[in-house]
């Protein structure tokens, strides 16, 4: 198990349980030592970052190193999440945000992700060990 500095927690935001389960498996298999937090909708993810709602009892902010954000979610989409996320104070934000796209079916989403300064990278689903390690290398080890 490798511990990476600044990566105490990875926040997975996806409405699909199978995807979350799979991404959690990928992270475990990659040997990275970190806590994995799962949010099945954007609101839950924001609540987690702000210690609100079901996470209200916590006193310290989790400040995840990496947020893997699904764009296409029912109700509040990844974009809706980002539009609220950008108003969070720095200590509540994650270190880096990576947008997860269901292949590149929608070129508009790809363009939007590239234009958004808060988004570090975009990755096509599903996450693989190689992609994860590459992202971590660029985001944390450089």
């Amino acid at each position: 198990m490798t511990k990476i500095e600044g990566l105490d927690c990875i926040l997975l935001v996806d409405d699909d349980n199978a995807t979350n389960y799979y991404h959690n498996l990928v992270i475990t298999h990659s040997g990275v030592d970190t806590h994995v937090q799962i949010a099945t909708n954007a609101q839950q993810a924001l609540d987690f970052l702000k210690n609100e709602g079901e996470f209200a009892c916590k006193s310290t902010f989790p400040k995840p190193g990496l947020i893997l954000l699904d764009i296409n979610m029912p109700g509040m989409s990844g974009w809706d999440f980002m539009s609220q996320y950008k108003f969070l104070p720095e200590y509540q934000k994650g270190k880096i945000v990576v947008a997860m796209l269901t292949t590149s079916l929608n070129p508009d989403d790809e363009r939007r992700a590239l234009e958004n300064k808060e988004i570090f990278q975009l990755i096509n689903k599903p996450l693989t060990e190689e992609k994860l390690l590459e992202t971590l290398k660029e985001g944390f080890l450089k």
Binding site: D15, D16, N17, A18, Y21, Y22, L25, N41, P74, G75
Partner: protein, 606 residues
Amino acid sequence: MDFSLVEQVEDYAVFVLDSKGHILNWNRGASFLLGYECSKIIGQTINVLLPPGNDGFDARCIILEDSKSTGKSIYEGWFIPENGIKVWVSLSVSLIKDSDCNLICICHKIDSPNRRNSEISPLKDGLDTLFAYWDRDGVCKFASRAYKDWYGWTSDDLEGKVKLSEMLGNTYHNNVGYIEAALRGETQVVKGQALLHSGDVRDMVTYYQPDYKNSVVEGFFVQTFDVTEYNNMKQDVELQFENIKKSDEKHRKMISEIRDYAIIFLDLNGYVENWNFGAEKTTGYKAEEVVGQHFSMFYPDELVRKGRLRELLLQAAEEGSAYYEGVHLKKDGDFFQGGVLLTAIRDDSNCLTGFFTITRDLSDQKRTEELLEFSLKSLESKNKELEQFIYIASHDLQEPLRTISSYTAIIEKRSLQQMDEISKMGIKFITEASLRMKDLIKGLLDYGRLGLNAELREIYSHDIVSAVCQDLNASISEAKASIRFDHLPKIQGYETEFRLLMQNLLGNALKFRKKDVAAEISISAVSKGNVWQFSIRDNGIGIKPEFKSKIFTIFQRLNGRDDYEGTGIGLAHCKKIVDLHKGEIWVESELGEGAEFVFTISKNLN
């Protein structure tokens, strides 16, 4: 007949017609009276001179037919000279013997009946004209009654007895100059004013006309007219004419600036009098090239040959306006599709004075229509393709999906016991995902099929809602829901689709209820003009306003599957069904405040 005899005659218009009304000869008098030079008129028919419409037709009959049957006829009525200002003429027509039924017409201008009655009237308070004859010695030989009355004499006193100097008394020396000139043989015309017994001041004109016998002036006639009314009228006419000229100029200027329509003024016979900028733009001709030309120059020869233009002018003259749509010619030889409206212009006394035409280039419109038709056709075929595509894709997707579901089922059955936690989860996810995919494909398939082979019929929406409630009985009791509706109308629609629409909306109202509150759903319908407007209102979780339009998109879901199951296709179905019924669907809601789905069904679906 030797026409040269009358060729130079100026006092009378003389011309010769052939039996069909073509003008064969035309003398100087005719040119004076009617404007046209010989070269312009010979070969044309008498119609050119006649007013359009019934008047012209009647005139033609009198001139051509009556004279042929009786050898002679007289026509009194309007003629239209070249300048378009009509004149009232007396025309005598005689058949020329030993010819091919040629007719000789002798014509002169006379006062029109209106004019004869009103323009120069005799003195208002006299019974007759002021008229008298005085001889060289100043003795009255004859005086009209009015004349005597005017000067206050009776018949017996005046004639043969009283001398002019006596009668005129103090005023004699005012008139002596004219009297002496008349006796010298010079005609005198004197304008002046006279005070009547009544106190009125009238404008008068007096003529002194010498009476010659064997070159010796024997005496003179004196005749006095009251021209007050004539003068008034003249002033009036001049004033009106000025006004007309002013407003005419204004109108003409306005019209000449109009660019999008060609507006052309024509005289009675279709010759161009005025030409606006729009006409220049449309046809390419400049005003100086067309004014004075016949408007047939803008139309194909064939149309002219068929007499269509003449017909249009006649129709406009009789009915007020006429319309033609078709080919118009341009100066450069090109043509365009245009619509032209001919409108008759009449003066205050309802006399036809000419026409104006408004022409619009319809090429763009026609092109747009063609393009639209083309787009519509390609859209239709694209739609068909799309339906086909959805159908085939859905079918073909089901094949591998069946393989996945079947084999996961076998693996689950045979080896679940030997599996570790992760594999078990894997199998669980695969099973769930395949089921969901099956639902999605079915939804897609249904979506593609919606409205296919649907039959329009009378449907009793009340019965349909009752039946849907029966179907949803289980969900209704589970939600402890109360559903209210009464007197839903009979409508025209597609029954299967309408039922699916109601099922989806009611199903949603039940599904998206607040977990701890009994569901209350009410369904109603009202007639609004051309549509029936249905409403399904619930007290459920409601929808955030920003999602109001998003929810009708296919596969769009607002909630996680853990909370509310579904494929996100139901409202897309609803939208398509409402589209099929030429209606609209929308939602009124606030988050947490319940939702009201409203849709309309057109009453004119046939």
